[in-house]
């Protein structure tokens, strides 16, 4: 099956609707909706596994002293929690949304490369099986932090490090294949009349994200390859004894790592730019400025990597360069936030669950942005570096940013996916439970960090005990709240009130012109673009 699915030939159409039953349907599928669903289900499973690890971390930190786990196991938990949430939960969730929505949004029948699409999903479970299995091996799994700084990941790493490296390679290949597919689909498969500046922002942000992925995932692959050869084959990329340099590791890693954080937030911007206008019943304010802001954030992301390394002893001139470049990013980001607020201004707002998550995103992501600005100030960073302040910052941008936007997207498009309305009351309970507990969880971390509590420690000084207890309680509550989401999704998939083609009054876009649930093949004849 190739782009032949584009045909409007009735007979062939029918042929394609005969899908194999049971597990083979999912293993062999080349349908963008099936693959999108697989990505989304896989990402939710990973979210729960990574979340369970966070629960272990917070249970250990509930009290000072060592109660539940050994320090080495604690380090494995912080490491694998990070890896799973970044590569297993957030990135596949966005790829899943891209698979589901992009062909529908641009008027294409499917993704451009359906068989590649099948592979890019199915190698992901292999990667995570390898990664998770390393936890059960002698010497334990990766324990060097998700950033795997050398020499922690070379000289001092456990024997299972090769498995970590291969798992990262496979995840990287998966994201690269996914990115190629997205770029080819968006550039070549748009319906006639769907010009670039008519594309929904979700499509725009994903196009830019895909280019970022293509640019930096290979650099990550190179980094882990160097770690592999340093550890097992006697090279000295990062070993000073052989003429290498451990600081070099940090440069290469963050050259990947900083664009990576934008990979995890740009698609969120696209989601929020779809939801805010829908529930404000107004056009998005400043569409083209949103496109340019996204592109400039992506370009700037290549010029700021060393702000993760202020304390490595850089010369002042370099520190100032990276500080100013970092602060510059707040300008396009500010453009976006103000555009969303301006879209809501004098709109006729209603507050269904997707809108609630979207508004929470704007407020809480902005808090994360502000703490990012604080961290960008070089002299201040010397105090904040490697403390819980950093943990608070990136959880605000990733949990209340990326994850909240994914939740908003799921609620927004669930009626389109399943054909049924989700339980609005349960959705609102899920929202309020999440938004309260997430702030109890992450807000006090700012104060812990400012007071000097280091990150990645299984034990801490007594004066941090009260706040850590509060944080842990917030963590348990947030973890449990996510089970409500699971219930909502299962209920919605099973049935309920029938959803109309366009369940949201103010929603715009080609996806709402298709019936709910969306037919197995999207836009078999190109839609008309107004």
């Amino acid at each position: 099956m190739n782009t032949a699915t584009t045909t409007s030939d009735e007979q062939q159409q029918e042929h394609h609707d005969h899908k194999p039953k049971g597990i083979m349907r999912w293993l062999l599928t080349t349908n963008h909706k099936d693959i999108g669903s697989l990505y989304l289900m896989f990402s939710f499973l990973m979210f729960l596994i990574g979340g369970a690890m966070a629960m272990i971390i917070r249970a250990e930190l509930y009290q000072p002293g060592l109660q539940i786990v050994e320090p080495n196991f604690f380090n494995q938990m912080t490491t694998v929690h990070g890896l799973i949430m970044v590569f297993g939960a957030v990135m596949p969730a966005f790829t899943g949304l891209a698979n589901w929505m992009i062909p529908m949004m641009i008027g294409a029948p499917d993704m451009a490369l359906p068989r590649l699409n099948n592979w890019s999903f199915w190698i992901l479970p292999m990667a995570f099986t390898i990664l998770l299995s390393s936890l059960f091996m002698e010497g334990g799994g990766p324990n060097f932090g998700w950033t795997f700084y050398a020499p922690l990941s070379t000289t001092y790493a456990p024997d299972s490090t090769a498995l970590f490296v291969f798992a990262i390679h496979i995840m990287g290949i998966s994201s690269i294949l996914g990115a190629i597919n997205v770029v080819v689909t968006i550039i070549n498969m748009r319906a006639p009349g769907m010009t670039y500046m008519k594309m929904p922002l979700f499509v725009w942000t994903w196009l830019i994200t895909a280019f970022l992925l293509i640019a930096v995932m290979p650099v990550l692959a190179a980094t882990v390859t160097m770690v592999l050869t340093d550890k097992y084959f006697g090279t000295s990329f990062f070993a000073a004894a052989g003429g290498g340099d451990p600081v070099l590791f940090q440069h290469i890693f963050w050259f990947f790592g900083h664009p990576e954080v934008y990979i995890m937030i740009l698609p969120s911007f696209g989601i929020i730019s779809a939801i805010i206008p829908a529930f404000s019943r107004k056009k998005l304010f400043g569409y083209s400025s949103m496109v340019y802001a996204t592109a400039s954030i992506a370009l700037l992301s290549f010029l700021v990597w060393a702000h993760h390394m202020f304390t490595t002893g850089m010369p002042v001139a370099a520190e100032l360069f990276f500080m100013y470049c970092t602060m510059l990013i707040s300008v396009p980001t500010g453009v976006k936030v103000f555009n969303w607020v301006a879209t809501m201004w004098r709109g006729s707002l209603t507050f269904e669950t997707p809108m609630l998550f979207a508004i929470a995103f704007i407020v809480l992501f902005t808090i994360g942005g502000f703490s990012g600005l604080m961290l960008a100030i070089t002299p201040a960073d010397f105090q904040y570096h490697d403390t819980y302040f950093v943990v608070a910052h990136f959880h605000y941008v990733l949990v209340t940013g990326a994850i909240f936007s994914i939740m908003a997207a799921a609620y927004y498009w669930l009626p389109k996916w399943t054909g049924y309305m989700y339980d609005e009351r349960l959705g609102k309970i899920h929202f309020w439970a999440s938004v309260i507990s997430v702030n109890v969880l992450f807000f006090p971390m700012h104060f812990l960090g400012l007071a000097g509590m280091p990150r990645r420690v299984p034990d801490y000084a007594l004066q941090f005990a009260d706040f850590n207890q509060l944080v842990s309680l917030g963590g348990f509550a947030f973890g449990l709240s996510q089970l409500i989401f699971l219930v909502v999704v299962i209920k919605c998939a099973r049935g309920g009130e029938k959803a109309p083609a366009k369940p949201w009054e103010g929603a715009e876009g080609l996806e709402w012109e298709m019936p709910s649930p969306a037919p197995y093949h999207s836009h078999t004849t190109p839609p008309e673009i107004k």
Partner: protein, 198 residues
């Protein structure tokens, strides 16, 4: 159908372009290693660049003195004792000076060591010229042997006024296993390259 083959061709062209971008970026990841070394050497960032000079200095600036402090450490897995014989020296820029470091191998085996220098503040390395240094070569010590290792250096006259104290740090690595394998000569090459810049 022709429409479809046209799209398929367009797709193929784009995939080839994107695929080559991916290959280029993978190679770029590795290219960052020499790029980083060259950048550090040219700019003197990171304190690794210590100029190597084949000729001693002749003109001395007696109007000021610079203090050079010494500190040593041994990397994990290196059993030697390794100490500078003086904590610091005060020198005039341009003045040649000799300092000795003492190393002792207290173990029962022959061990080969390689010292890797670093200067703080990082940019100070550009003005520290070594004419002779034990770190240019590997040192081999038999069981129980000790050795006094020499360093001959001068500080350039063009060192900025504000640099009044420099710290020279040596870390000694155990390279017994890889000795002679060729990998360990990289630091020496780096210093030659730095010397070529001047």
């Amino acid at each position: 159908m022709t429409e479809q083959t046209k799209v398929a061709q367009k797709n193929k062209r784009l995939i080839v372009k994107l695929g080559s971008a991916i290959v280029v970026m993978f190679c770029f990841g590795f290219a960052l290693v020499p790029l980083y070394d060259v950048l550090c050497e040219v700019t003197g960032l990171n304190g690794r660049t210590i100029a190597r000079s084949d000729t001693a200095s002749s003109l001395i600036d007696e109007s000021r003195t610079v203090r050079l402090q010494f500190t040593t450490s041994v990397a994990p897995g290196m059993p030697w004792q390794f100490k500078p014989m003086v904590k610091y020296v005060d020198v005039h820029p341009g003045e040649n000076e000799v300092v000795k470091f003492k190393a002792l191998n207290p173990t029962g085996q022959r061990v080969v060591g390689q010292a890797v220098p670093s200067v703080s503040p990082g940019l100070g390395g550009l003005y520290l010229n070594k004419t002779e240094c034990f770190c240019f070569d590997q040192q081999a010590l038999n069981s129980g042997e000790s050795v006094e290792m020499g360093l001959v250096f001068f500080i350039s006259k063009d060192i900025p006024e504000e640099l009044k104290t420099l710290t020279l740090s040596y870390t000694l690595f155990n390279v017994t296993e890889t000795a002679g394998a060729g990998i360990i000569n990289i630091p020496a090459q780096r210093q030659t390259l730095a010397a070529n810049i001047y």
